[in-house]
Amino acid sequence: MKVAMLGWEYPPFKVGGLGTHCFGLTRSLADKNVKVDFFMPKTKHSVSSENKNLVIKEVGETEIFPYDRPEDKELAGKFFEAVYRYNELLVSKVKGKYDAVHCHDWLTMKAGVKIKEKTGTPLVLTVHSTEYDRSGWIYPNQWFIDIEREGMEKADKIIAVSHFTKRVIVEKYGIDPNKVSVVHNAVYPIGEGKKTNVVLFLGRLTIQKGPEFFLKTAKKVLEYEDTRFVVAGIGDMLPKLISQAVDLGIANHIIFTGKLTEEEVRHIYQISSVYVMPSVSEPFGITALEAISAGTPTIVSKTAGVSEAFKNCLRVDFWDTDEMANKIISLLRYDPLHNMLSKEGKREIELFTWDRVAEKTIDIYRGIL
């Protein structure tokens, strides 16, 4: 079996779940003897593979990786241009016989559709997020939605990262539910470290991830518990969040880390006592699995895909900062609760392997051969 996978980001360079997913999936597919040609834009980092079944093919060049929705108009223009150029290049570079072409999100959908039309190769599409998620369900941009809908309609099979996302695909994009399979994400476990008095938010600082709810919660917790709050990541909301922290009078308890390296990300997961993912919209939320794999009890938004799949975590409505604070304080105060969530979470995380994701993906490939 040979697959052309059209990617965008890939470690060491990545900004979101898409890159993490492609990395885990391609390695496990290769281990299971699926030949994968992974196409991606050339970056400053060089990317390579040790497995002969996995060939990384760098196509063209781009310096712009804002992931999805740059606010800045000029940057947005450059970004869309880069994506457009990359898609055009892909159509000419993906040559030879493949059993399937597999793309991820809107970023490579146009190329996938064109290759399918040109060569008749079956098209598989993984949806990591939709425009509705990225906009936090506020003013979604029709331009993206149209690209997404065309890709979904033309795809032979769609993989959704959660039932939550499957519902969006079916209800918002009008896709036949029988065409959509759910494959939950996985994680390479990080391993436990020494916990310190830190409550962590880690993610892009965008409306989708709900960082402002994290700060409101921090304010409530700080009235009862003396602890530090770390906001890790970058994004368009950073300036606003900094002023919010000042306005709330909690600036000296909040640390904004800016962008972290992979090593720093692992470290911050390990030393945190609580991880909070208050996303307004979260198709899956791999970061929750990463935190749990580091033995860090995790509070996730009820609507996050991970909360439908993973049991040993706490769930809240993203807007319910009182309940979020109640849960954080309880985790800080009650050791048996903290210890059990940490222990049981690490045990359950062993079920969330990329091998399982690859197996399910192979089943889906087989279904369209």
Binding site: K311, L314, N339, M340
Partner: protein, 394 residues
């Protein structure tokens, strides 16, 4: 000739309010603060309509129809009776009507359906048994002879205490672990006490309680004549069928045919000349002890494990249990009756049951009964309340 001994457990816990860390130390009337009156009333009225009232009526009719040959026993918890008296006295009246037939027996237990039998000293346990005794005396002018501890929790220490308190018999699970090759269909004696032990036939009991509507069970569909036929082939003196009363109409809905099953059961059982019905008191009067049982570690009828791990199986449960016990030590130095009653309502085993993490990933029976999303939420809520109660004592 085996006698069929039906016994039903009738219990409703006082479910808790959502109580966050921010509520700790706020001054309010403790009872309404801890317990969710609206939810409790709603659930009680629902279960009364689906189960208690129709089942009591059906059983009353059957007792009359078979001229008292159909005989049953009940255990009513104190919290259940408090609900009846507060929200629906007619439910209690219907139990009184059943008792008047002479075909109904009552069983003693702890008033609060608590785990007080597992404390290091048994004084609180004894208090709660005596409270229950007074309640049954008040309601029915009757003194039960047989005791059954919360969820049939039993060990040698409890048996000894129950003998001291004057009971003639005690009920527990017919656990393979204590019986080995022996049958639960006989009466046994604790190694260390002069009591008759009635053992639940868990296979036949669970056929009704758990499997009645399970389509993938080979016994499905379970009919009254099939069930009576199985019992007629049982060895021994007694078939002890002990189950939650809410089985009828609540765990097994009307649509499953559970009421039809019960309606036809007495007739089908009495068709077999060698079968009859007995109450628990009659069972221990009629049959003799055939052997000893030795139970150094507590057993129960809960879950697959049939021990106390349902309530004390993880560190969160143990932390709550210890906290509750320690609060009690302090509380008994105060002379505040209302606080004492609140503390005791918090001892109801259901609160710890909701914190059980056993198999919760498979969405098992615990999740069905729990008002919480996950056991962790059950812990947070319960522990917050215990912290509040503790602060009141300081």
């Amino acid at each position: 000739m085996p006698s069929v001994c039906f016994y039903f457990e009738v219990h409703q816990p006082m479910r808790l309010n959502r109580f966050s860390v921010f509520n700790i130390g706020q001054n309010m009337d403790s009872f309404s603060k801890y317990f969710d009156e609206n939810l409790n009333r709603e659930i009680f009225e629902k279960v009364a309509k689906k189960c208690y009232l129709p089942t009591n009526k059906l059983l009353l009719d059957l007792i009359h129809e078979f001229d008292g040959k159909f005989r049953i026993s009940f255990s009513l918890t104190g919290t259940f009776v408090e609900y009846c008296e507060k929200f629906m006295p007619t439910v209690l009246d219907s139990f009184k009507d059943l008792y008047k037939t002479g075909a109904v027996d009552f069983i003693e237990e702890t008033y609060f359906h608590s785990l007080s039998s597992l404390y290091d000293t048994l004084d609180e346990f004894e208090d709660q048994v005596k409270m229950h005794r007074q309640m049954i005396k008040r309601l029915f002018n009757y003194q039960p002879k047989v005791f059954r501890n919360t969820e049939a929790i039993y060990d040698n220490r409890i048996a000894k205490k129950i003998e001291e308190l004057g009971y003639k018999g005690i009920i527990t699970e017919g656990s393979d672990r204590i019986l080995g090759w022996r049958s639960p269909n006989f009466i046994y004696k604790p190694v260390n006490a002069n009591l008759k032990v009635l053992l639940r036939n868990y296979k036949l009991s669970d056929d009704v309680g758990f499997r009645f509507s399970a389509r993938d069970w080979p016994g499905f569909p379970l009919t009254a004549d099939k069930y009576a036929h199985w019992m007629s082939h049982c060895e021994g003196n007694l078939v002890n069928l002990f189950m939650d009363y809410e089985t009828f109409g609540e765990h097994q809905w009307t649509e499953t045919g559970i009421f039809n099953f019960i309606r036809h059961l007495p007739g089908q059982v009495l068709k077999h000349n060698h079968l009859d019905f007995v109450t628990v008191s009659e069972a221990i009067e009629r049959y003799d002890v055939v052997g000893d049982i030795d139970v150094p570690w507590a057993i129960s009828w809960a879950d697959e494990d049939r021990d106390v791990s349902t309530w004390l199986g993880n560190d969160m449960q143990i932390a709550c249990f210890n906290e509750l016990r320690d609060i009690g030590r302090k509380l008994k130095q105060h002379k505040d009756k209302e606080l004492l009653h609140t503390w005791r309502l918090l001892q109801t085993s259901d609160h710890l049951y909701y914190v059980s993490t056993k198999g919760f990933e498979d969405g098992n029976v615990h999740a069905y009964f729990s008002p919480y999303d996950v056991p962790y939420d059950g812990f947070i809520n319960y522990m917050n309340i215990l912290q509040d109660l503790k602060q009141r004592l300081d």
